[in-house]
Structures are given as structure tokens and as C-alpha cells.
């Protein structure tokens, strides 16, 4: 029901978080595969293969049997046709047994965070104690699709009974029908506003004056941070995997450290040619990867002697116009901060998914923008600018890649490792979601 517009639009948020009513929920462990940049052709792993590879060492080090999970929830966007419910297939293949349910959640780029949020709410409500929540994506397996009019023609042709009808149908065949469209590109275009995700980033960059150099510099920082952290062993949640082909995958292979602004400046815009500022160099990569987290209640922690890494304090989903979906982190994180009366300084670590450099930078500027904070976020004062020393300290989707169903799970898990290093009590993992949404999780270190 639409209410009368007020002079100052206020983004309404829930007054209370689950914290006050539910039982505490902990992330007790988590692990992921290396993120593998899509090469030409499908990669060596399907979405469920990745989930299995991510999950096996994780489950091996637990003190409980995988059959003791109450539920398995997996985020995945591009589901492989042979694994239509990847959550259940992964649960079975991981040895959770016939009796553990498994299912799949899809909230586009936040599917892997949705699985954590759902698990969190189930446990907080007392309906479950121990849930395996993950995200997986094999973008290199995204299908080639026939165009709709070609599909229409196929239907007509196969429905034709007589030879005459068949010939008639055949005469309607157009060569263009054989040109497939790439599923992933179609998935990256918003069906409502008809803008590609890259175009929404161009729009955000424009709104907050993000220059090409700003975006490219941010991209370089992302790669350099990932390279350094990998070398120093800070990517603790990642473990090497071995393909059936006997090949070892032991690092996030999209990383390109030591890039220069000059080199990046040479790249052509990927979405809005020829003047656009969003290039393959300052966007997230197309990548395969899987990640899991284990969520537990106090009872489960006691029963199995688990060691909580962090407590989930709160979570939030928020929406906006699809054409500015990149504001997702701002509109979803702010209500949480308000609910808990947290200031910028009190959040000691941030993971904002790097869909696009321009988009992340626009978010940072929006929080520092008086007009935006007042009119969009309903804040009296600008929130302030996040210190980049506390943001994505080990790189992000620009260097790691963005397996869409996985990223939300990864940033939530990695946030805990970042919080430990930064000595942060509170941390937020947040991301923008294609279609005009944002998701955020507030964690407290244990």
C-alpha cells in the first residue's frame, strides 16, 4: 500500500534484528576452491563438481558426520542441465546420505549469501542447529542458447506431420536461427530496464564522477592485494583441488599483479563503446568456483566441540531501481548499521563485492555524499568514507573473479579472516545484485 510521500523519503527498515528474538548463530568453518578464470570452452568442473571439491576437505576436518547436517543449502545461478537441484546433488555426492535434504537458492549475484542468510534464519528460529550453506558457479559452463524465434521454428518443424507441412516449415528456416546467443551475456542484461550490468556501472560511475583512472587504479589495487595475500598465505579458506584429468588447481588464477595504469588504459570499453569507462580490466572476471560455510547453533557447538569463528549479528536485503543496482551495498548495509547504532569507525572490516570498480567507488562516494545520505538513505549526516585499508584487503572479484552464485558465500567467509587480521570486532560483507538489490551481513568476531 502506497503511503503519502513525505518531504524527506525515508528508507524504512525493520526495527529489530533476529538477534533479539532468536538463538545465536555461528559460522564455525568454511572452505572454497580456487577461483578458476573461464578459458575457452567449458572448464573441468560443473557447478556440483566445484561444490564437492570445496566441501570434501571441509567435511573431512569436522568432528561430526556429514549425515548429521539438518540441511544443505546451495546458491547457484547457472544450473547445469544434468544437476537441476545442485544443492541436493552436492549433498548426496558429499556423503550427507539419503536423509539430509538439499536445495538450491537463487538471488542472482547474492545466491551464495542467500544460502547463509536462510541457514542463519532457520537456526535462529530454532528449527535447525547445523547447516551446510554454500555457493557454486561454473560460468564457463554457461550454455549457448538458441534464440527464441529459432526455438519457435524448431517447435513448428517437429509439430509438422505431413511432408508438405515439413517442407513448409523448412522454407521458413532462416540462417540466423543457427547463431546461438551466449547465455551468460543474456543473464548479464537486466530484463526490465534492458541495461547490461556493465551499463549500470557506467551509470553509477557517471553519477559520482568516477574517472577511468579511478576505476583502473582500484582494479590494480585489487590484483596487487590478492597477489600479495596469496603469497603471504592470507587466503586461508582456499585449498588446492585436483581435477579428474590429474591437473592441480592451487590458486586463484585470474590474478594479474603488477599491471600499470598505462596498460589498463589501453583496454577498450566492454559495454558502452567507444566512450564508456567500464572495461574488462576494471570489471569482475568470468570465473568458476565453489565455496561452503558451516553454520551452527550453541547446541551444535557444544555437542560437537565446534569453534565458532564469528557470530552472525544481522542481515538485510534491500532493493532499488535495476538501472542503479550497483548501490546494493549502500542500501542494504545502512539499515543494519542504523539498527545497531554502528558508526563507520566501528565496522572494522568490509568486504564489498567488486562487480565493477566504478560501482564500488560510487558506493563509497554515495556514503560520503550529503544529498544521497539524506534523500536516499535517510541519514541526518553523511555516513563517511570507508577507509580502503579496511576494505577488500585481500582483493575482490576484479582479481579473483565473480562466480555469481559463489561470491556472496566467499566474501562472507573471507570477511572473518580479514576481521581477524584487522582486529575488527564487527565486519560487514555486502554486494550488489543484478536486478536492483543489495544484500549485507553483519558479523561479530568470536
Amino acid at each position: 500500500m502506497a503511503s503519502k510521500p513525505t518531504a524527506k523519503p525515508r528508507r524504512t527498515a525493520k526495527a529489530k534484528s533476529l538477534e533479539s528474538t532468536g538463538q545465536p548463530v555461528y559460522i564455525v568453518d568454511g572452505a572454497r576452491t580456487p577461483f578458476l578464470k573461464a578459458q575457452s570452452g567449458p572448464g573441468p568442473f560443473t557447478p556440483v563438481d566445484l561444490a564437492v571439491q570445496a566441501g570434501r576437505p571441509l567435511l573431512l576436518r569436522q568432528s561430526f558426520d556429514p549425515r548429521e547436517f539438518d540441511d544443505v543449502i546451495l546458491g547457484c545461478v547457472n544450473v547445469h542441465p544434468d544437476e537441476v537441484n545442485p544443492g541436493r546433488v552436492a549433498a548426496l555426492r558429499l556423503g550427507c546420505g539419503a536423509e539430509v535434504p538439499g536445495w538450491t537458492v537463487q538471488r542472482n549475484c547474492a545466491s551464495g549469501m542467500q544460502s547463509i542468510d536462510t541457514a542463519y534464519r532457520y537456526i535462529a528460529d530454532g528449527g535447525a542447529d547445523l547447516i551446510l550453506a554454500g555457493g557454486t558457479e561454473a560460468l564457463s559452463h554457461a550454455p549457448l542458447l538458441f534464440k527464441e524465434d529459432a526455438v519457435g521454428w524448431f517447435g513448428e518443424f517437429f509439430a509438422a506431420k505431413s511432408t508438405g507441412q515439413k517442407l513448409q516449415a523448412l522454407s521458413n528456416l532462416k540462417p540466423g536461427y543457427f547463431a546461438p546467443s551466449i547465455g551468460i551475456l543474456r543473464g548479464l542484461k537486466d530484463p526490465v530496464v534492458k541495461l547490461s550490468m556493465g551499463a549500470t556501472a557506467e551509470k553509477l560511475g557517471h553519477l559520482f564522477g568516477v574517472t577511468r583512472t579511478d576505476a583502473d587504479s582500484f582494479a590494480i589495487q585489487s590484483h596487487d592485494r590478492l597477489a600479495k595475500s596469496t603469497k603471504e598465505g592470507h587466503i586461508e579458506e582456499m585449498h588446492p583441488i585436483i581435477g579428474d584429468n590429474g591437473k592441480v588447481y592451487d590458486h586463484d588464477d585470474g590474478v594479474r599483479p603488477g599491471n600499470s595504469l598505462e596498460k589498463l588504459a589501453k583496454l577498450k570499453p566492454a559495454f558502452e563503446k567507444p566512450f564508456g569507462k567500464v572495461t574488462p580490466g576494471n570489471s569482475s572476471q568470468i570465473t568458476d568456483g565453489g565455496c561452503w560455510t558451516i553454520l551452527a547453533s550453541d547446541a551444535a557447538v557444544r555437542k560437537y566441540g565446534l569453534k565458532p569463528m564469528a557470530r552472525i549479528v544481522d542481515s538485510e536485503w534491500a532493493s532499488c531501481d535495476p538501472s542503479v543496482m550497483g548501490f546494493g551495498p549502500v542500501i542494504s548495509s545502512t539499515p543494519i548499521l542504523k539498527r545497531h547504532g554502528l558508526t563507520m569507525k566501528q565496522v572494522g572490516a568490509w568486504e564489498i563485492n567488486e562487480a565493477f570498480a566504478a560501482q564500488v567507488l560510487a558506493c563509497l562516494r554515495a556514503w560520503n555524499d550529503a544529498w544521497f545520505c539524506e534523500n536516499i538513505l535517510g541519514l541526518e549526516e553523511p555516513f563517511g568514507e570507508i577507509d580502503q585499508a579496511r576494505l577488500n584487503i585481500d582483493g575482490g572479484a576484479i582479481s579473483l573473479g565473480h562466480p555469481v552464485g559463489t561470491s556472496g558465500n566467499r566474501i562472507t567467509l573471507h570477511l572473518i579472516h580479514a576481521m581477524r587480521r584487522l582486529g575488527a570486532k564487527h565486519g560487514i560483507a555486502t554486494e550488489c545484485i543484478g536486478g536492483g538489490m543489495g544484500g549485507a551481513m553483519l558479523l561479530e568476531i568470536m
Binding site: P57, R61, R93, G97, A98, P240
Partner: protein, 712 residues
């Protein structure tokens, strides 16, 4: 926190997979036919006047066509002949399958030609009566349907099977071919290339292959079995009772001669005629009589009787029972092992892990770096793809085989197998780490081939849980596993280990911890004598040929290359230290080859050069086989067996023969080394050893253990 209810999981498993629980005609327990009081068969008539004959052989988990079973079948047939029911359906009440074949224990006494023929002719007459019944007769088959069981089914009008069924004629593995009309009843339905091939190879066919070749009329799932039987009864089932055009063409004399020649060539690659006459007899049977199946029927009996009373078959039957005996070693105890942790992902460790995963275990494979584990994963994938045909099974096996870089698997495993490098100090480090992590009750095993268990057990907190599980290379192909004991080993641990080895479909043999255990102790002198002969200037090909002429699957030189010269040398040094003068000197070039990295097949070059497919480049040998050279190679092996018997490495002659046949491939048609000694005569061999000792050196001196054999 989900509660794990094992009983419910088992019930669910049964609901999904137990053929008997689901079985049409088997699950019901209606009133049996009053006229029949049988022990092994359950017979009843249903509302449609269909008689069901359920074979449920008393006191056994599998059905065989034993004499009592067959005698009861005759009685049953007599009653049913008078009843004239709508149809007669045969089923098995055993989970393992329909009928596994003849009762092989009954073969042992079949030493007279005439008696064999009498028995066969009587049985053939009974099957003819079954074939002549005027109403539909249906064999409803699940699981294994082999040999005599298949011949029984072939006498029915219809054969309907579930998709789990497996068909085969394993007779050839016992030095026989089918003898209950299997040859010609098969060739009535199936083209000769498929049918004869099936009997020559002894291979077990999948249901689909059997359906395609025509020996099965319909393949379905258990859930449609009732419907399929109903169709057969009503004559609705489409059946093919003719050969294909190609198959008909193959029945003509000239075509048969040509094809038979080709078949003989193929067989000759695997088995020599004078060692294994059965496949040649089978080809002969078809070449001579494939145009007229009535002739073939008579000739089958003649040929079968000849084979059955011959030495090869007798010895192969012995080998069959030696195998059964070794399997028996693993019975009587629950091993309670679900998770196996293997440390060391080299060739042995990696392949042991893969084999265990193939056999259904959860396996963690630990090594220090992913690069060390990766080749094992690649090999495992190959193995699974070859061995697991059902869709999804290979993936499931890959999922069960978990690379482990942290050693977390050791905390959860019920059995830990160490397969790291053959250095006691490194192995002991591994054990110390394991003992810190492992659960109480977990077995700790080593795959060592050359270090004594007593040495490795020193310093263990729980030496009673420590055992040797010695696999052979290549793991997937070698049936024997030596389970090595030592004085502190707990009996239950030993029994559990034996049970597990049997469960992964290997043959467990208990051996005492003495240098080389049984297999390496006996095989190494044979290989080393070959090297000595080589140094005397005899060509390696000639040496190999002499051993192959005896019936060894591969000569000693090629074997050394196959095993790996480094491995062979390591064992040889251990044995030389232990045996001194009674063991051949290790040639100096051996060491040089190993140091140069020419280790045999695995490096592409050893004594022979190997091609890309791993085939050695060997020159053809034209010289006539040299009996003296043969004895020079084989007798040291026999001498070592006698020494092992004397020292109690194995408990008795059968265990020794089984171990040597299935651990070394020792000519199975000779029934094992101890059997060969008995046949040839201990005296003759001792004399020859003494002659060889005079000519070549003291290493040939007969072991004191021969004294006992000479007295027997």
C-alpha cells in the same frame, strides 16, 4: 543435528536395491505343492495355474547346480509334466543371482571318462525333457547366471532378465568348455563370433550384451518382471530365434575354417595349446560341427569328458579351490571398516587407494603436495571408467577418493595404510603422527615389501594394532595380498585385516614376517638366476621363453622390468643379506642401471626397451626350449617355496600354492609349486638341484625342507 539411524538406512537400502525383497514370485510364501517335498526348491501354483519353481539351495548363499539340486529338479519335472500348468517359471531366491554354475567340488572325483559321459548323458536327457514341455517355460533371471546355470536357462523356452543380470561360460577357466548342451544351444541363438568368443574367453556379459547377442529374450527391471513373464506366457513377447544373416553365413564350412583359424591365432597369444587345451577344443568343436548342431551335441560330450579327466582341468580346478581357500581366510570376522586412509600417493599407495574406492570405501589419500597426489587421481579415473559401467558410478567413486593434504583423514579412518618410501625412520615418523591422531580401534598397516614388521613395530604405542598389508603391482590386476604378521599382532586385528582384504575382492594370505615374505622371497631368486644366466651370455628373450614354456605368464627378465628394477634390487639386497651364499650374487650392472634411472617399464627402459603402450621390444626366439635353463630358473623358485614352508612363512601347502599362483602368476595349470613338486617327484627335483649346484654353485643346494618331502 540429525540423528543417524543405521537400521533405517539399511531398511531403505533394502527397499531400493534388494532383488529378493522385491522379487516377483520370490517374496510371496504361498502353500507349496503338496506332491513335492523338496529341500532346495520351493514350488507353488498361483491363481493363473502358473507353477513357480524357486531355487533356494539349502545352507548356501548362492545357487549351484549341485547333484542334489539337480536330482530334486528331476522329481519336480516329473510332477509338473503330469500337471500341465499354464506355465513354469524358474527363479532364484538368492541375492547373488540365478545359478552360479555347476558344483565344482563334484568335479574332483570325475577321473574316469566313462563316468563323466554317463553323468552328462543323464543330465542332458533331463534338460531335453525340460525343453520338450508343451507349455511355456521361463527362466526369470537376476544377478549371475553362469555355466551350468546358463545351460539350464537355455533349455527353457524364454529367458527374461533384470538389468542387473550377468551371463557367462567360465568353464574355460577350469580347463573345460560347456558340457550341458551350452555350446550348441548357445550357437542356435547367437552368432558364432559372439557365442564362441563368450565360451573362449570365459568373460561375463552384461544383461544388455546378452540380450543383443540373442541368448536372452527380454531385459527389464525387477518392477516389470511380472508383466514381462505374463507377456511370455501369453505369447506376446517378441523373440528372435534365428541367427543374423552374418551369423548364418558363418555356419558354412569354409567360413568356419577361416574364422576358426583366426580364433586360434588369438587364443595362441594368451595360452599355449599343450598348456591349455580347452579353448582349442572349443574352436575345434565348432569348426567340425558348427554346421550341424546335432553332431555338435554328441561331440560336446566326448570333448568335455576328455578335458575333464585331463591334467590341466584337474589342476585348474585345484587352482579354483586354492582361490576359494584364500577367500575363506577372510571369513568369520566383521572388519567394521568404512573409511580407509592411505599415506603416500606413489604408484602403490595411489593404486591401493583407488582400488579401495572402487570397492566402495571412503578413502583419503594423503601426501605432502597436491602434485604428488594428482597422478594417482588421474589413474583412478581411468580405472573407474573401465571398471564401473553404470552411469554415475565412476563419479561416485571419484567423490569417495579424497585427496588429503592435512592428514585429517587419519582422525576418522578405521584403517590406515602407510605406503611411503621403504625407509624405516621415515615410516616410523609417519606412525608416530598417526598414533597421535587415530581413533581407538583403528588398524595401522604398512605396505612394506622389504622391511620386517618387528623393526617397524618398535616404539609403537599399540603394536598389537599394527599389521602388514602387502599389495602387488599392478594393484588392480594382482589378486593376492600378503597379510604380514608379527609376534605382537592381536588376533582380532589380523582377522579384521583378512576380512577387509577379502572384502575388497583380493585374496588374503597370512605370511610370517621373514625377509621377502612369501612372494618376493620365492620370485627374486628366479629373477636373479635369470640375470646370472644373462651375464653368461644367454639372450634375455631366450631366458624369458624358457620360463614361459614352463607356463609362467611372463619371463623373469620382463617381470623384473615390470616390477621395476629399483624395487627388484631393493628386495634382492635384503635377501642377499639374509641368505648369503644360498642367494645369487647381484650383478654390478644392475646397480648401474638403477642409478642411471633405467628402472624398467615405468621409465620406458630397463633391460628391455618399452614402447608407448608399455610393450617390451623383444626379438622372436627360434631355438627349441632348453629344459636345463628352465630348471635353472624354476627350481630356485621351488627351492624357496620349500624353505618358506620349513620356516613357517605360510601354514600349509595349499596356502603356499595359492599364494604363489595368485601372487606371481605361477602357471595355474600346474596347480601350484607344491603340487608340481608332488607330480614331478621331490626326488627328481632334489637330484636336479644337486646337479645344478655342482655345475653352477651352492646357491642351488636343496633346502633342508626337502627332507620332509622326500619322506612323504
Amino acid at each position: 543435528m540429525r540423528e543417524i539411524v543405521e537400521a533405517r538406512a539399511e531398511a531403505l537400502e533394502r527397499l531400493e536395491h534388494d532383488p529378493i525383497y522385491l522379487g516377483v514370485g520370490v517374496a510371496k510364501q504361498p502353500k507349496p505343492l503338496a506332491a513335492l517335498k523338496l529341500e532346495h526348491w520351493r514350488c507353488y501354483q498361483d491363481e493363473q495355474k502358473v507353477v513357480w519353481a524357486i531355487l533356494d539351495r539349502k545352507g548356501s548363499s548362492a545357487n549351484t547346480l549341485s547333484e542334489p539340486v539337480f536330482r530334486e529338479f528331476e522329481t519336480l519335472l516329473g510332477v509338473v509334466e503330469k500337471m500341465q500348468p499354464t506355465a513354469l517359471v524358474f527363479r532364484s531366491a538368492k541375492k547373488s543371482g540365478f545359478i552360479m554354475g555347476a558344483e565344482i567340488s563334484e568335479f574332483v572325483d570325475m577321473t574316469e571318462d566313462a563316468r563323466v559321459k554317463d553323468m552328462l548323458e543323464h543330465a542332458l536327457g533331463v534338460l531335453d525333457r525340460l525343453e520338450r514341455l508343451s507349455f511355456p517355460t521361463i527362466a526369470a533371471i537376476h544377478g549371475f547366471c553362469l555355466g551350468g546355470g546358463l545351460e539350464f536357462a537355455l533349455a527353457c523356452k524364454y529367458r527374461i532378465c533384470t538389468d542387473t543380470a550377468r551371463f557367462g561360460f567360465p568353464e574355460v577357466l577350469l580347463g573345460l568348455h560347456p558340457g550341458l548342451a551350452g555350446t550348441w544351444r548357445t550357437l542356435k541363438l547367437a552368432d558364432a563370433d559372439k557365442g564362441v568368443e563368450m565360451m573362449l574367453s570365459g568373460r561375463t556379459l552384461y544383461a544388455k550384451q546378452a540380450k543383443n547377442m540373442g541368448i536372452v529374450d527380454a531385459m527389464t527391471q525387477e518392477r516389470h518382471m511380472a508383466e514381462a513373464i505374463d507377456w511370455a506366457i501369453k505369447g506376446k513377447l517378441k523373440v528372435r530365434r534365428e541367427l543374423t544373416t552374418k551369423g548364418k553365413a558363418m555356419t558354412f564350412g569354409p567360413a568356419r575354417s577361416l574364422i576358426a583359424m583366426q580364433m586360434e591365432k588369438e587364443v595362441a597369444k594368451k595360452a599355449k595349446r599343450h598348456h591349455y587345451p580347452a579353448p582349442y577344443a572349443m574352436i575345434e568343436l565348432w569348426r567340425e560341427h558348427g554346421g550341424d548342431l546335432r553332431d555338435m551335441r554328441k561331440a560336446e560330450t566326448e570333448s568335455f569328458a576328455r578335458l575333464m579327466t585331463g591334467d590341466t582341468s584337474k589342476n585348474l580346478v585345484r587352482a579354483f579351490f586354492l582361490r576359494e581357500g584364500l577367500k575363506e581366510n577372510g571369513k568369520g570376522t566383521e572388519h567394521a571398516i568404512k573409511h580407509v586412509h592411505v599415506i603416500g600417493a606413489g604408484v602403490m599407495g595411489g593404486d591401493i587407494a583407488a582400488w579401495s574406492a572402487l570397492r566402495g570405501y571412503k578413502v583419503t589419500l594423503q601426501d605432502m603436495k597436491p602434485d604428488l597426489i594428482a597422478p594417482a587421481i588421474k589413474r583412478a579415473r581411468k580405472l573407474f571408467k573401465r571398471r564401473l559401467r553404470r552411469p554415475g558410478d565412476a563419479t561416485a567413486a571419484m567423490d569417495r577418493l579424497i585427496p588429503d593434504l592435512t592428514g585429517d583423514g587419519a582422525r576418522k579412518a578405521d584403517l590406515i595404510i602407510e605406503a611411503v618410501t621403504e625407509r624405516p625412520e621415515i615410516k616410523k615418523l609417519v606412525y608416530a603422527q598417526c598414533e597421535e591422531r587415530m581413533k581407538p580401534g583403528t588398524l595401522l598397516a604398512t605396505n612394506t615389501s622389504s622391511i620386517l614388521l618387528e623393526t617397524l613395530a618398535e616404539g609403537l604405542k599399540a603394536p598389537q594394532n599394527f599389521v602388514g598389508i602387502h599389495f602387488f603391482n599392478p594393484v588392480a590386476k594382482m589378486p593376492l595380498v600378503e597379510v604380514v604378521t608379527h609376534d605382537k599382532l592381536d588376533d582380532t586385528v589380523l582377522a579384521r585385516t583378512m576380512a577387509w582384504v577379502a572384502d575388497i575382492d583380493k585374496l588374503p594370505l597370512t605370511v610370517k614376517s621373514l625377509p621377502g615374505f612369501l612372494v618376493n622371497r620365492t620370485l627374486t631368486p628366479y629373477m636373479m638366476e635369470a640375470f646370472v644366466a644373462m651375464d653368461e651370455g644367454i639372450k634375455p628373450e631366450v631366458i624369458d621363453a624358457a620360463a614361459e614354456e614352463f607356463g609362467m605368464p611372463m619371463g623373469p627378465i620382463e617381470l623384473a622390468d615390470q616390477v621395476g628394477l629399483d624395487v627388484a634390487m631393493h628386495v634382492a639386497k635384503v635377501l642377499k643379506d639374509d641368505l648369503g651364499e644360498t642367494f645369487p650374487d647381484i650383478p654390478t650392472w644392475f646397480d648401474r642401471k638403477v642409478k642411471a634411472g633405467n628402472l624398467g617399464k615405468k621409465t620406458g627402459k630397463g633391460i628391455y626397451q618399452f614402447d608407448k603402450d608399455g610393450k617390451p621390444d623383444k626379438q622372436a626366439v627360434e631355438d627349441a626350449p632348453d629344459q636345463e635353463l628352465q630348471d635353472r630358473l624354476i627350481l630356485p623358485l621351488l627351492n624357496a617355496c620349500v624353505a618358506c614352508m620349513r620356516k613357517g612363512v605360510v601354514t600349509d601347502k595349499d596356502q603356499c600354492d595359492g599364494g604363489i599362483i595368485f601372487g606371481t602368476g605361477f602357471a595355474p595349470f600346474r596347480g601350484g609349486p607344491m603340487n608340481y613338486i608332488a607330480r614331478r617327484g621331490a626326488k627328481d627335483i632334489v637330484d636336479q638341484l644337486e646337479r645344478l649346484a655342482r655345475r653352477h654353485g651352492d646357491r642351488f643346494l636343496p633346502d633342508p625342507g626337502w627332507d620332509d618331502l622326500l619322506e612323504e
